[in-house]
Symmetry: C2
Subunit: 318 residues, 2 copies
C-alpha cells in the first residue's frame, strides 16, 4: 500500500495516463476520472478515461469540454475500483492484470494493482484524488472541483451517510470556494426523478401494508409495476429504503419480483433490530441494518412467511 505522496510521484513520472472507471459507473468513479484527467492535462500530460459501460446523461456534465484522447499509455490507473472484476467487459479483458496504480477507498479492495493508494476512511475516492492532485501541485479550480464535489456528494448521499467525516466537510468547503455550483449538482443528483420513477413510486406506495402495530411496513415491487411504469433499473434505486423511513417503523420489508418469478426480499432495520438474523433463516444474510434473501413462492405466501419471521423476531427481541 502506498500513500498520497507516492501516488503523486508515480503520476508525475508518467506521460500518457489511462484512467479506468468501474462498470455501472457512479458519481465517485466518474468524478475521480474527470478530475484526475483534467489535472493531468493541466500539467502537460496526456490522459484519457475508459469505462466498460456507457455514461448516463446524469453525469455528462462532468466531461463537458473534455475531449477524448487515444494513445498507448505508460501508466494505467484504476479509480474507485475495489476488484478487477468490477472493470466489467471489455475493460477486464483489455486491462486485467495490467493496472499499475489503484486509488480507492473501499476496505474490500483486493489489492489487484501493482501499487494501491487506499484510504478506507475517505468517504469518497474523490477525497483521495483531491489530496493527490494537490500533492502534484495542481491548482484545484472550479473545473476540477466540480467532479470532485460530485463524487463526494453522491457517495455520501449529500452528506447524510455515516461515512462522512470532518475532513469530508472541510474538503467540500475548499471545493465550493472555487465556485462549484453545489446547489445545482445536488438538485440534479438527488432531487430530480424521472417520470417512470415517480410512476413506479406511486404504485409501490399503493402496495404498503403495515404490521405489528406499525413497527413493520412492507412494500412490493412487481414485474408488472416496473413494466407498466416503464422504469429502468436506475429508477428503482432507493425504493427499498421507503418502508424503514416511515415514522415508527422498526423493520422495513421490500419484496421485489425477479425475472424468474421468485421474490427478492430486502430487509432494513433500525438498531437494535438485526435484519441479517431474520434473513439468515431463509438462507440469506447481510448487515444488521440491511440484509436480503430470496423466496421462491407466490407473492402472498412470500409476504406471509417474511411477516411471520419478523413478528416472531420482534416478539422475542421487542
Amino acid at each position: 500500500m502506498i500513500g498520497i505522496k507516492e501516488a503523486a510521484e508515480r503520476l508525475k513520472k508518467a506521460e500518457r495516463v489511462l484512467i479506468l472507471s468501474h462498470q455501472f459507473p457512479d458519481g465517485d468513479t466518474l468524478g475521480c476520472a474527470a478530475a484526475l484527467c483534467r489535472g493531468l492535462r493541466r500539467t502537460g500530460r496526456r490522459a484519457a478515461i475508459r469505462c466498460s459501460d456507457k455514461i448516463g446523461p446524469k453525469f455528462n456534465f462532468l466531461f463537458h469540454d473534455l475531449p477524448d484522447d487515444d494513445f498507448t499509455p505508460d501508466l494505467v490507473v484504476a479509480v474507485d475500483i475495489a476488484d478487477e472484476k468490477l472493470l466489467g467487459e471489455p475493460l477486464q479483458t483489455q486491462w486485467g492484470g495490467k493496472v499499475e496504480l489503484c486509488i480507492d477507498h473501499h476496505p474490500s479492495n483486493t489489492m489487484y494493482a501493482e501499487q494501491t493508494c487506499l484510504n478506507p476512511k475517505a468517504a469518497a475516492t474523490c477525497e483521495i484524488i483531491y489530496d493527490v492532485l494537490r500533492e502534484m501541485g495542481v491548482a484545484v479550480d472550479k473545473k476540477i472541483a466540480t467532479p470532485l464535489y460530485t463524487g463526494i456528494t453522491t457517495d455520501t448521499g449529500c452528506f447524510k451517510y455515516i461515512n462522512v467525516t470532518p475532513r469530508t466537510y472541510r474538503i467540500a468547503a475548499d471545493l465550493v470556494e472555487t465556485g462549484v455550483d453545489a446547489p445545482k449538482i445536488n438538485r440534479e443528483m438527488f432531487d430530480t426523478k424521472s417520470r417512470a420513477r415517480l410512476d413506479v413510486e406511486r404504485r409501490v406506495l399503493d402496495s404498503i401494508r403495515y404490521d405489528c402495530g406499525g413497527k413493520v411496513a412492507v412494500i412490493v415491487i412487481s414485474r408488472q409495476m416496473v413494466r407498466e411504469s416503464g422504469a429502468c433499473e436506475d429508477d428503482l434505486d432507493g425504493l427499498a429504503t421507503i418502508p424503514r423511513g416511515i415514522e415508527g417503523v422498526q423493520i422495513g420489508v421490500t419484496l421485489r419480483e425477479k425475472e424468474d418469478g421468485a421474490w427478492k426480499v430486502s430487509l432494513r432495520a433500525l438498531p437494535p433490530s438485526n435484519a441479517s438474523e431474520i434473513c439468515e433463516r431463509f438462507g440469506g444474510g447481510g448487515h444488521p441494518g440491511a440484509a436480503g434473501c430470496t423466496l421462491n413462492l407466490p407473492l402472498e405466501q412470500a409476504r406471509e412467511q417474511m411477516l411471520c419471521a419478523v413478528r416472531e423476531y420482534l416478539e422475542k427481541h421487542g
Copy 2:
C-alpha cells in the same frame, strides 16, 4: 447593528438570560436556543427558553437533559427572529418592545431589538451562535454542537440550498468533530415520513398530469386527500416541490384546496422561466423560482386557467 464581539460582551454582562424562539419553531431557532442556553449555563449563568408554540416531537432531543428555569431576566434575547410579530402569542404581548439583543441571519430583519447582531450571509443563525459562543470562551462540545448542527442542516436542506457557503461546511466539520451523530440527525430530519405523509403523497402522485410535452407537471392537494390521509400541516411540507423535481419539467404547478374551497396555486420554475411573472397575471407574485396566487374557481377551471397561462408563457419565452 453589532458584531460577534459586542453580542458576546452583552451576553457576558448578563446573569439571567431569557431566550426567545419564533412561532412555528424550526430547527434553526430551536437549535440556536438550545445551544445558547447550554452555553450560558456552562458559564454559570441562568438561562431559559420560551416559544409561543409547542415544540414538536421531532425536536425534543435538543432539550434532553435541559431542565426549564424561571426567573426575572436581566437580558432578553431573540434568536432567528426577523420580526417581532414572529414571536407569536403569548410572547409578543409579553416581550414585544422589550427584546434587548437579537441574533439573526434574515436580511429582512426589522431591527426591532435594542441591539441586533445580523449576518445575512450565514446559512443559519446557528452559524452566528457558534461564533458568539466561541467569542464568549465557551468550549463547544457534543451537547452544544448537536443543536447547532441541527439548525444548520435543517436551514440548508442538508447542505442542498443556495445559502450554503464554504464557512457552513467548515463549521459543520468543527461540529461533527465533537462527536455529533449527524447521520442520525439527518435521517430523522429528512428521511423519516409519517404514515399520513406517505399516504397523502401517494394520493398526490395519483393526481399528476403533464402538459406542454412534459415541460409542465401539475399536482393537486384537495381537502379530501388531506382529510382521508389524516395529514396535518407539517405532513404537507415540501409536496409543492414534487412537480418541478421531475426530469424534463420546467414549470411545476401545485393546486392546494383552501378551507373556503378556493385553490392556492404554487408555481415552481427552473431558470430562465419566471414563476412570478405568471402568477402576477392572477394577482399573485413571488420570486422567479417560486411564486403563488389564488384562484376562486372549481378545480377543473382553476387547473385549466393556470395551464393556459403557463402554455402561453412557454410559447412566448420557450
